[in-house]
C-alpha cells in the first residue's frame, strides 16, 4: 500500500514539474524532490513502516556527482585560460582544410562519445562555447541560421548519451555488472547508435524544429568574450590530450583525481585564480542529481520501485500489451520522464528491465532480447538528460542560444526515440563482443560513418559526395570502434 502511494506521489511530482503545473520559479525540481522525499519519509512513519536510513543514504552514487564537479572545475579552468576561444580558432582553421565545414562539424559533435566521460556535462561545459563560436562562423559561411542550433544540440545529445558507453564508470558498466556481461561489451552498439542519434538531431533541428536564433546578437556577445592569451592554445591541448590519454590508458585511478590534477596543471599554465575557477562551477545539475538520488532513496525505502515492477508485471499479464509491449514501454520510460541524470532511472529500473528482458527472451526464444533491451534502456537513460526540462543539458544550449526553455526538447526526444532501436538491432544482429576487430561490426561502423558524412554534407549545404565530410564520418566511426 505504502509502495503504491509513494509511486503515485513520485509520478505526480514528475508530471507536475514536466508539465509546469508547478512552475520552476515557484518550486524548482530540486525543492520538489526534497519536499517529496521528506513527505515519503513521513508517510513511512505514518504507516508504521520501518524506515531504514542506511538504505536511504545508500541509494546515492557519489561517482557521477564528483565527476561532474571535477569536470566543471577543469572546464572552468580551461575557459578562464582562454582554451575554448583557442579551440574555436582551431576549428575554423580545420574547416578551411581538407575536412571542410561538414567534416569539422561531424568531428566536433562526436568528440564527447569518442572520449566518453562518466558524465556528459564534462565535455558539454567545455565544448559548447567552442561550438557557439564555430557555429557563428558556420552560419556566416553557409547562410543558414538553423545550423547554429543544429551544431549545438547535436553536440549536447552526443555529450548526454556519452555517459552510457564510458569505460570510466559509465552507466553501461552498471548494466554489464548487473547482467553479468563482459566489461565494455555494451560500448560499441551504444557508440554507433549515438553517432546516428547525433546526425538525426542535426536533421531535426534544420528540417523539423527550425529554431529562430539571433545570430547577430550572439556574434557580438561572443566577440566580446574572445581573448587569446599566450597560454590559451596550450591549455586547450592539455585539456584534450589529457582527457584522451586518461581515456586510452585507463589508469586504475578514479577519474576525479585525474581531472583535479589536470585542473591544477591548467591553472598553473593559464595563471587562473581559484576564484575564477569557482565562478565556472554550475551548481544546478549537481543539486538536481543529489535531489534525484534522495527521492530514489525514499522510493527504495518505501517500496515504490517494488510497486512499479509489480504494476508493470500486472500490465504484462492482464493487458493486450503483453510482456513485449511492456518491455518496449519500459525501455522508453527514461525518455518519457526525462530526469536531469540518467543514473537515477538506471539504478531504479534496471532490475525491472532485466526481469522483463528475461521474460521476453523466454517468450520469443531469442536469447539476445535481454542484452538488446538492456543496451537500449541504458542508452535511453544516458541520452535522456539532454531533453530533460528539469535541468537537462539541453537547457544549457537553450540558455546559451537565448532560446525559450523547452523549445529543443521535441527534436532531441524524436532523435533519441528513433536511434534506440538501432542499438537493440546491433546487439540482436551482431551479438555482444569485446573484440576490437570484428569484421561485421567494422563494416557497419564504416557504413554508418559514411552515411553520417553524407547527411552532414547535405545539411551544411555542400555536395553530398564531398570527401571531407565522408572522411570525417569514417574517422569518427573508426575512433569509436578503437577507443
Amino acid at each position: 500500500m505504502l509502495g503504491a502511494i509513494s509511486l503515485i506521489f513520485f509520478i505526480l511530482i514528475m508530471v507536475a514539474s514536466v508539465r509546469k503545473w508547478v512552475r520552476q520559479d515557484v518550486l524548482p525540481l530540486q525543492s520538489l524532490l526534497v519536499i517529496g522525499s521528506l513527505i515519503l519519509v513521513g508517510l513511512s512513519f505514518l504507516f508504521n513502516h520501518s524506515f531504514d536510513h542506511s538504505r536511504f543514504f545508500a541509494a546515492t552514487s557519489l561517482h557521477p556527482i564528483t565527476a561532474t564537479i571535477a569536470g566543471f572545475m577543469l572546464a572552468g579552468a580551461v575557459e578562464s585560460a582562454g582554451g575554448f576561444a583557442a579551440a574555436s580558432q582551431l576549428l575554423i582553421r580545420c574547416s578551411q582544410g581538407f575536412l571542410g565545414l561538414s567534416g569539422t562539424v561531424l568531428l566536433l559533435v562526436n568528440v564527447p562519445s569518442i572520449f566518453a566521460m562518466p558524465c556528459g556535462r564534462v565535455w558539454a561545459a567545455a565544448l559548447i562555447p567552442a561550438a557557439l563560436m564555430f557555429g557563428v562562423e558556420l552560419v556566416k559561411e553557409c547562410g543558414n541560421p538553423a545550423l547554429m542550433p543544429a551544431v549545438v544540440f547535436s553536440l549536447i545529445v552526443n555529450a548526454a548519451a556519452s555517459c552510457g558507453p564510458s569505460p570510466l564508470g559509465g552507466i553501461g558498466m552498471i548494466a554489464e555488472g548487473t547482467g553479468g556481461f563482459d566489461l565494455h561489451s555494451f560500448s560499441n552498439p551504444q557508440q554507433l547508435s549515438i553517432m546516428v542519434m547525433t546526425v538525426l538531431v542535426m536533421v531535426a533541428m534544420v528540417k523539423i524544429v527550425k529554431l529562430d536564433v539571433n545570430i547577430c546578437g550572439l556574434a557580438q556577445q561572443l566577440k566580446a568574450r574572445t581573448f587569446l592569451p599566450e597560454s590559451a592554445y596550450f591549455s586547450f591541448f592539455l585539456y584534450v590530450f589529457g582527457l584522451a590519454a586518461v581515456f586510452i590508458v585507463e589508469p586504475p585511478v578514479p577519474i576525479q583525481t585525474l581531472l583535479l590534477l589536470l585542473t591544477a596543471l591548467v591553472m598553473l599554465v593559464g595563471q587562473v585564480s581559484f576564484r575564477r575557477l569557482l565562478s565556472g562551477l554550475i551548481i544546478h545539475p549537481v543539486t538536481a542529481m543529489v535531489a534525484g538520488f534522495m527521492m530514489a532513496g525514499a522510493l527504495l525505502v518505501t517500496g515504490g520501485f517494488d510497486s512499479l515492477t509489480a504494476l508493470l508485471n500486472w500490465f504484462a499479464v492482464h493487458t493486450w500489451l503483453g510482456y513485449i509491449g511492456v518491455a518496449v514501454l519500459l525501455v522508453y520510460i527514461p525518455l518519457i520522464f526525462p530526469l536531469p541524470c540518467g543514473r537515477i532511472a538506471a539504478a531504479a529500473l534496471l532490475p525491472g528491465v532485466m526481469m522483463f528482458g528475461q521474460q521476453v527472451s523466454l517468450i520469443t526464444g531469442v536469447e539476445q532480447c535481454l542484452p538488446a533491451m538492456m543496451v537500449a534502456f541504458i542508452l535511453a537513460c544516458a541520452a535522456s538528460c539532454a531533453p530533460s526540462p528539469l535541468g537537462g543539458i539541453g537547457g544549457i544550449g537553450e540558455g546559451n542560444l537565448r532560446l525559450k526553455s523547452g523549445l529543443a526538447g521535441r527534436g532531441l526526444q524524436l532523435s533519441i526515440l528513433l536511434s534506440l532501436p538501432i542499438s537493440a538491432l546491433i546487439v540482436s544482429g551482431l551479438g555482444l563482443s569485446t573484440e576490437m576487430f570484428r569484421f561485421a561490426e567494422w563494416i557497419l561502423a564504416a557504413s554508418l560513418g559514411m552515411v553520417s558524412g553524407v547527411v552532414v554534407n547535405v545539411i551544411v549545404g555542400q555536395r553530398f559526395y564531398r570527401p571531407g565530410g565522408i572522411f570525417s564520418g569514417l574517422v569518427v566511426a573508426a575512433l569509436m570502434m578503437v577507443l
Binding site: L62, V253, Q256, M294
Partner: protein, 160 residues
C-alpha cells in the same frame, strides 16, 4: 521568485547540501573514506564465488552501517543456523517464495533443512567470505574491497 518562496527553496537546497555532507561524513566515520570513490559499476558482482554482492560492502562502508543488507545467491546453510545468525535474513527453501528465516520456520520448514540465503547483513556476509580476492581484481580502479571485509570479519563493526 517571491520572498517566502526564496526562503523555502533555499532551505531545500541547504537540505541537499546537508544530505551530501551526511553521506560523506558517514564514509569518513566508517574508516573507509575511499569507498566514496567507487564507480558503482557493479562489475564486482560477477566475481564472487558465493554470489555475495561486494558492492554491498562499499554501501555499508559509505553509510557506516555493518547491518546494511547485502544480496547473495550461493550461500547455503541450515535454517536453524540462519535464525541464529539473523531471524530476519531472507532465505529460500527449494522453489518456495523468498521469506524471512523466522517466517520459513513458522511455515513448517524443518530447522535442519538447507536454505539458500538471498539477503543478509554485511557483517554476516563478511563472516562467510572466503577472502579469495576476486572482487579486488574485478574492480576497474582496484579498490581494496577486502580491507572492508576483513575489518567486518573481526568483530562485525567498522574499525577503519
Amino acid at each position: 521568485m517571491k520572498k517566502n518562496l526564496l526562503k523555502v527553496n533555499t532551505c531545500c537546497y541547504l537540505i541537499i547540501a546537508a544530505y551530501l555532507l551526511i553521506t560523506v561524513s558517514n564514509a569518513v566515520r566508517s574508516g573507509f573514506p575511499w569507498a566514496m570513490t567507487c564507480y558503482s559499476c557493479l562489475l564486482c558482482r560477477q566475481s564472487c564465488p558465493l554470489g555475495i554482492d561486494p558492492h554491498g560492502f562499499i554501501s555499508a562502508a559509505n553509510t557506516d552501517d555493518p547491518n546494511l543488507y547485502v544480496t547473495a545467491s550461493n550461500i547455503r546453510i541450515h535454517l536453524n543456523q540462519a535464525i541464529e545468525i539473523d531471524p530476519d535474513m531472507q532465505v529460500r527453501f527449494r522453489n518456495q517464495p523468498v521469506v524471512k528465516a523466522k517466517t520459513a520456520l513458522a511455515q513448517g520448514v524443518e530447522p535442519e533443512a538447507e536454505v539458500t540465503v538471498l539477503k543478509m547483513h554485511a557483517k554476516d556476509a563478511a563472516s562467510f567470505c572466503p577472502l579469495c580476492g576476486n572482487c579486488n581484481k574485478a574492480c576497474p580502479i582496484t579498490l581494496p574491497l577486502m580491507k572492508i571485509i576483513e575489518d567486518l570479519k573481526d568483530d562485525g563493526e567498522f574499525n577503519g
